[in-house]
Symmetry: C2
Subunit: 184 residues, 2 copies
């Protein structure tokens, strides 16, 4: 079961940007042949399932240039250099939604696209939300609308393909399960 590893023979650095970098690696496969792997390096990110006192999920509507469209997501953002994920989660929640939270707990971490990228997302659940009037500003090149939705409304947004990303779909399913089990 240990024979799956691919050894790097040569690394070509193609691009290094402000968010991602790209390298192409020539690898030796388990059968001795060689192949090429196109790999994106990413600093990692956090996402926050923030639930307000009415049980609504706080989401942000955001234009995603990669998709050329606006989608609705849970608050998220990439880790700054050396930043602890939990600190980043609290910061991104406040920057994107204006909410500070009384309690924040790690739920799960997952790679988003292990086939070509090392982006790891740390998912947190935040409660005890309070709107901060003088909340930290969002990134200067980030524009979002805050929307607060029930689990049922979120499921409709999934059907309408306005919620359309993995971390948010995971979050909605998580809250749907929690609710269903509480109503048992």
């Amino acid at each position: 079961m240990n024979s799956l590893e691919e050894k790097t023979l040569r690394t070509e650095n193609i691009f290094s940007g402000k968010v991602i970098s790209l390298q192409v690696e020539e690898v030796e496969l388990p059968n001795g042949k060689t192949s090429k792997r196109e790999i994106i390096k990413h600093p990692g990110a956090v996402a926050v399932i923030a639930v307000n006192d009415e049980g609504k999920i706080v989401m942000v509507e955001q234009y995603r240039k990669a998709l050329e469209r606006t989608i609705v997501e849970i608050p998220a953002g990439k880790l700054e250099k050396g930043e602890q994920p939990k600190v980043c989660a609290v910061r991104e929640l406040e920057e994107e939604t204006g909410y500070v939270c009384g309690k924040i707990e790690w739920l799960i971490s997952f790679y988003t696209s292990p086939g070509f990228a090392d982006e790891l997302v740390h998912l947190y659940v935040a409660t005890g939300l309070e709107k901060k009037e003088d909340a930290a500003q969002t990134d200067e090149d980030e524009f979002v609308n805050v929307v607060e939705v029930t689990v049922e409304e979120a499921l409709n947004l999934i059907r309408e393909q306005k919620i359309y990303d993995a971390k948010t779909a995971y979050a909605v399913q998580y809250l749907q399960m929690k609710k269903a089990l509480e109503n048992k």
Copy 2:
């Protein structure tokens, strides 16, 4: 609510590979300022939650060069040019696990990393599995071990960080919810 769009001013094509391509776009932000977006183009992919007659989930252990480690995932693969997602799902399931399925249904589609990539994953649920002795070969540069696990075992693999990607975490949570609701 329509003011979030970012207009492309200039596109620089950086790289075009066998799986992904990379471009940097100069964009005009909603406030009139400009910024740069680093964007990965991907052909899209499918993933399959395949459940055998004993209720076990069929997974594959696979070395992921981007992560420099072996992880356990549900069967998945990228769309060939012009290929229908459902056809791709049936093909990838057979290629990676040797199983053909009696029934396959679309569950959800999601973008994996909308912050920088347009990769869209179509998730299917496959049942009525039958092992095919002369199953189609895997990709010539793909090496996997097939593992079949219960939902409880899958949850342990998540705790041990052997299941560590978004589509697989979603799949396990989905089956966990299904099971919990059936036992109500």
